[in-house]
C-alpha cells in the first residue's frame, strides 16, 4: 500500500510540471509587455523597469521558468498588482471557504447521488426509477448559477406559505450553517445527478453478475444482496467519476461563490481577472489545478482499497 501511494505521488510530478509550464506560459501569452502587465496598467515606466528587473524578464526563458518554480516551492508567488501585497497572503485565507464548499458539496452529491442511483436501479422500470432519472436529467441540465439564484429567491428572500416565511437561509457569506446550506445545494446538484446516473447503470450491470446469483443461492436477504454484495462492486467506477467530477465542481465553485458572495478563491479569481491582476490569476489557476490533482490522488488510493483486483504493489 505504501509503495502504491508513493508511486502514485511520483506519477503526478510530470503533470504538476506541465501545469506550472502552462501557468508560466499563460503570462507570456497575454498580448503586451509582461512587465507592464505584472506592474499594473497605471504603473510608471520606472516601476515597469523595476518589475522587469525583479521578475528577471531579461533572463532567458528557462532561467525565468526555474525562478518561477523555485518561487512556487518556497511559497513566493509574486505580488498583487492591485495592492502590492504578496499573492500567497492574498490566496491563503481564501482557500478555506472554497475547500469547505467543495468538500460539503461533494459529500452531498455522493450521498444523494448514490442513494438515488441505487433506488432507481433496484426499481428499474418503475415510476420511482423514471422520476429519479428525470430529476437527474434536470439536475444535469441546470446552470448552477441559476439554481443558486432561484434558491436565494425562494429560500433566502422567501415567500409566505400559510403564515410561514420560507426565507430560512442566508443569501451571502460563508461560515454559519444558514449561509452554507444554499451554496452547497447549488454546487452539489449537478454532481448528484451525474453520480445518480452512473450509480444506476453500474448497479444494473453488477446486479446481473454471477456472484450476485451466488449470494442469493446462499440465502442472503435481497436487501443485503443489494447493499453488501452489489453496491460495493458498483461503487468502483463511481469513485473514479467522483474524482473527475471534482474538477467540474471546482469550476462551479467560481460561479457559486460569485452568486453567494463567498470570499473564496473562485471569487478572488473573478475579481482579479476583472482588475487584470494577473499574478493572482496565475497563482489561482495553479492552486486550483494542484487541488484537483491532489483530490484525484486521494480518489485513486480509495479506489485501490475498494477494488481488490488491482494489485497495489
Amino acid at each position: 500500500m505504501f509503495t502504491f501511494i508513493v508511486r502514485r505521488l511520483l506519477q503526478t510530478i510530470p503533470v504538476l510540471i506541465g501545469v506550472t509550464i502552462l501557468t508560466f506560459g499563460m503570462m507570456r501569452l497575454i498580448p503586451g509587455d509582461p512587465a507592464q502587465i505584472m506592474a499594473g496598467e497605471s504603473a510608471s515606466p520606472e516601476q515597469i523597469e523595476l518589475t522587469r528587473e525583479r521578475l528577471g524578464l531579461n533572463d532567458p526563458l528557462p532561467v525565468q521558468y526555474m525562478d518561477y518554480v523555485t518561487g512556487i516551492v518556497t511559497g513566493d508567488l509574486g505580488t498583487s498588482v492591485r495592492n502590492g501585497r504578496p499573492v500567497s497572503g492574498e490566496i491563503a485565507p481564501r482557500l478555506r471557504p472554497t475547500i469547505e464548499l467543495a468538500f460539503y458539496s461533494t459529500l452531498l452529491s455522493v450521498l444523494i447521488g448514490v442513494t438515488a442511483g441505487v433506488i432507481a436501479a433496484v426499481r428499474r422500470g418503475k415510476l420511482s426509477d423514471s422520476l429519479i432519472m428525470l430529476f437527474a436529467l434536470f439536475g444535469l441540465s441546470m446552470p448552477n448559477f441559476w439554481l443558486g439564484l432561484m434558491l436565494i429567491q425562494y429560500f433566502a428572500i422567501g415567500f409566505d406559505v400559510g403564515g410561514i416565511n420560507t426565507g430560512w437561509f442566508l443569501a451571502s457569506g460563508w461560515g454559519t450553517w444558514q449561509q452554507m446550506v444554499l451554496p452547497v445545494i447549488t454546487l452539489g446538484t449537478a454532481g448528484a445527478a451525474i453520480i445518480a446516473r452512473m450509480t444506476r447503470s453500474s448497479m444494473l450491470e453488477v446486479i446481473d453478475q454471477d456472484y450476485i446469483r451466488t449470494a442469493r443461492a446462499k440465502g442472503v436477504k435481497e436487501r443485503v444482496v443489494v447493499y453488501r454484495h452489489a453496491l460495493k462492486n458498483a461503487l468502483i467506477p463511481v469513485v473514479t467519476v467522483v474524482g473527475l467530477q471534482f474538477g467540474a465542481l471546482l469550476g462551479g465553485a467560481v460561479l457559486t461563490e460569485t452568486v453567494f458572495a463567498i470570499n473564496g478563491l473562485g471569487r478572488l479569481m473573478v475579481d482579479s481577472i476583472n482588475a487584470r491582476d494577473f499574478p493572482i490569476v496565475q497563482s489561482g489557476v495553479l492552486v486550483f489545478a494542484f487541488l484537483f490533482v491532489l483530490v484525484n490522488i486521494i480518489v485513486d488510493i480509495l479506489y485501490g482499497f475498494l477494488n481488490k483486483r488491482i494489485d497495489l504493489n
Binding site: 510530470p14 503533470v15 506541465g18 501545469v19 502552462l22 501557468t23 499563460m26 501569452l29 497575454i30 436529467l137 434536470f138 444535469l140 441540465s141 441546470m142 446552470p143 448552477n144 448559477f145 441559476w146 439554481l147 439564484l149 432561484m150 436565494i152 429567491q153 428572500i157 451525474i194 446516473r197 452512473m198 447503470s201 453500474s202 450491470e205 467519476v241 471534482f246 474538477g247 467540474a248 465542481l249 471546482l250 469550476g251 462551479g252 467560481v254 460561479l255 460569485t258 452568486v259 479569481m269 473573478v270 481577472i273 476583472n274 494577473f278 490569476v281 489557476v285 486550483f288 489545478a289 487541488l291 484537483f292 490533482v293
Partner: protein, 298 residues
Amino acid sequence: MREEINESAAQAKAAPNPRIVKIKNFWKKLTSSKSAVIGGILIILFVLIAFIGPYFTPYSPFDTDTSNRLVGPSMEHWFGTDNYGRDIFSRIIHGMSITLYVGFFSVFIGMTVGVLFGIVSGYYGGKVDTVIMRFMDILLAFPGILLALAIVAVLGSSLENVIIAVGIFSVPVFARIVRGSTLAVKKLEYIDAVKALGATDGRIIFKHILPNVASPIIVQATLSIATSILSASGLSFIGMGAQPPIPEWGAMLSDGRNYMYDATHIATIPGLAIVVVVLAFNLFGDGLRDALDPKMKN
C-alpha cells in the same frame, strides 16, 4: 452448422446494401427511444427559432423603454421587461442563435482538434502518443471552466474567446475517446490486410478508422454541446463572455441578479431557457448513445 453458414451467405447476397440496412436499424432504434425523439424535435425547433425567430419578434431586443421597466409577464410583454424596459421575450428569441452558435462552434473546435490528436496518438503510437496524451492529462488537470477562465483572462472577454476557451477544454475528452477507439480498430485484422494492399496512412485513417470511431464521437459531441452551453453561459454570467447589450442568456441572467426582490422574472426566464436547450441536447445525446452503442455508459 456448415449448412447454416451457406444459407446466411446466400441471404447476405440477396440482402440490400449493408450500409443502408445499418442506417435503417439505427433510425429504427433512434425513433423508438422516447428521449431521442423528444430531444431531436426540440433541437429542430430551437434551430428554426434561431434562424427565423428574430424576424417575428414583437419588439427589438435592444429597444429600451424607461416607462416600462421591470414589468412582469403580461399579454403585451410575454416574458416581461428588464431593467431598461427591453422586451425579454424578444431578447430570448434573439439569444437562441447565440446559444446554439456557442454550443456548436465550441464543440466543433474541441472535436476537430481532439479527434486529430486522438487519431494521431492512437494510430502512430510511441513517442507521439506519449507526448500528446501527457499534454491531454495536463489539460485535464485544469478543472473545467477554470481553464476557460484562464484562457479568457489571457485573450480578453468576448464571445469569440469564450467559444475558443470552451472548445479547448473539451479537446482532451475527444482525444481520449478517439485514441481508445483507434487503438481498438487498428488491432483488427482487416486494417493489416488494407495496409498489405498498399493503402496510405491518410487513406486508412479517413476510409477505415474515422467511420469506425464515428459513433462515440457523435454521442460525445451531442453531450458536449450541452455542457459547453452551460460553461459558456457561466462565463458570460461572471462577465467574461458576451458583453452588454448582446442578448446572451447568461449575461441577461447576470443583469437580473440585481433585481431579485423586485422582478424575479428577469433572472428566472433566461435560466429556464438555458435549462430547456441543454435538456434537449442531453435527451438527444442519451437516446443517440443507446441507439448507436448500448454498451457505452455515461
